[in-house]
């Protein structure tokens, strides 16, 4: 098992996902399938641990932070990822966590630690988060962390349950971090 990339305290960690995590992560997707179908475009195409393994292997490791796992007491409960646009200095974060672990601030802690990590690298000047307008839990995370609402991308998202949906764009600049209490 890889060393934690980010230690969130209280047994919570963010680590690079490894191929051996695929069965465990697939089980989390499967249990949360109906809920995720309203948000995530990839859910219906994820029908076996093999599909998760392919995602993990594409995400790579080291420089590429696209396939990270959120772990609680060593158990993978969701994912978080960052896609850097190095040329422009922008980095987009995405995340999801199983229903059992929602509403306890776990994803907010993971985002906060990931943002710290990104702003400590030379090529990240801003962080972007996009979320569906009716996804109150997801939107609460950038709002809590001091992001500003910058726009609304019309019908830029798609999910198997519900089809096309808008995305609210949130941005946070390096100079705005950390947010004042």
């Amino acid at each position: 098992m890889s060393l934690p990339l980010l230690d969130l305290g209280d047994g919570a960690e963010v680590r690079f996902l490894e191929s051996s995590d695929a069965p465990e992560l697939f089980a989390v997707v499967d249990v949360n399938r109906e809920r995720l179908r309203a948000r995530m475009p990839w859910v219906d195409g994820t029908t076996s641990p093999q599909d998760i393994r392919a995602f993990i292997e594409r995400g790579g490791s080291g420089e590429n932070l696209d396939a990270l796992g959120i772990y609680l007491s060593g158990v993978c409960v969701g994912t978080i990822g960052a896609r850097p646009d190095v040329m422009n200095g922008d980095c987009q974060i995405g995340y999801w966590v199983g229903a059992d672990h929602e509403g306890r601030g776990l994803v907010t802690r993971a985002c906060r630690a990931l943002i710290e990590h990104l702003f400590a690298t030379p090529d990240c000047h801003r962080v972007t988060i996009r979320a569906a307008p009716d996804n109150a839990r997801s939107r609460a995370i950038p709002e809590r962390l001091g992001f500003r609402r910058e726009g609304l991308m019309r019908q830029a998202g798609w999910a198997p349950a519900g089809g096309y949906h808008d995305l609210v764009v949130y941005g946070l600049l390096e100079g705005e971090w950390p947010p004042s209490p």
């Binding site: 500003r148 910058e150 991308m153 019908q155 830029a156 798609w158 941005g171 600049l173």
Partner: protein, 185 residues
């Protein structure tokens, strides 16, 4: 390389105007165009300053050919490279970000509009995208007007979303939906 059957040229737009997937052999010509336009491009395009040699141009072409995006396309008039155009696919699978530039000698002649129109047709047709996004530097008034003429709707302002010669710049976010697109007559 994109997961579609890429024809050569990718788009034949008539009157000797073509859009082609750039080949490693195009690196020298691409580099010459960038050098010739560097002062103008570097105001808006971060890559104008980082492309310092033919090898840099070749690395860009090879990099784009290894991805699933259609990012490394060239605009050719009578066989000569006059600009670049590209489409980056978003994670949603239904949205693509369009970017385009042409050399000053071919500005104002409809070359960019026809190339963008052709790529938008391809995106909504063969590629089955639902929407196209464009990000334009807020003070690049010529490009802002160009994008609005194509029928895009302003959707937001991405603060300090790009880095250019004068520092970080705000980007205006534009979107165009499949059902909003009217092809040129």
């Amino acid at each position: 390389m994109a997961a579609i059957a890429v024809s050569d040229p990718l788009l034949d737009l008539g009157n000797e105007l073509e859009v082609r997937v750039l080949q490693p052999d195009d690196a020298e010509e691409l580099f010459e165009r960038i050098v010739g336009e560097r002062e103008r491009l570097r105001r808006w395009m971060p890559w104008a300053d980082t492309t310092r040699s033919i090898d840099d141009a070749r690395s860009f072409i090879e990099h784009t050919r290894a991805t699933e995006d259609l990012d490394g396309l060239g605009i050719f008039v009578e066989g000569a490279l006059v600009g670049g155009i590209g489409l980056l696919f978003e994670g949603s699978g239904i949205d693509g970000e369009l970017g385009c530039w042409v050399v000053s000698s071919h500005e104002g002649r409809g070359v960019a509009a026809r190339a963008c129109g052709g790529l938008i047709e391809l995106a909504f047709g063969q590629l089955s995208l639902h929407r196209i996004s464009v990000l334009v530097a807020a003070d690049n008034l010529r490009s802002v007007a160009f994008v609005e003429r194509l029928g895009f709707t302003r959707e937001g302002l991405v603060r300090e979303g790009t880095r250019a010669d004068t520092g970080f710049q705000d980007l205006v976010l534009y979107g165009l939906l499949e059902q909003e697109w009217t092809p040129a007559p």
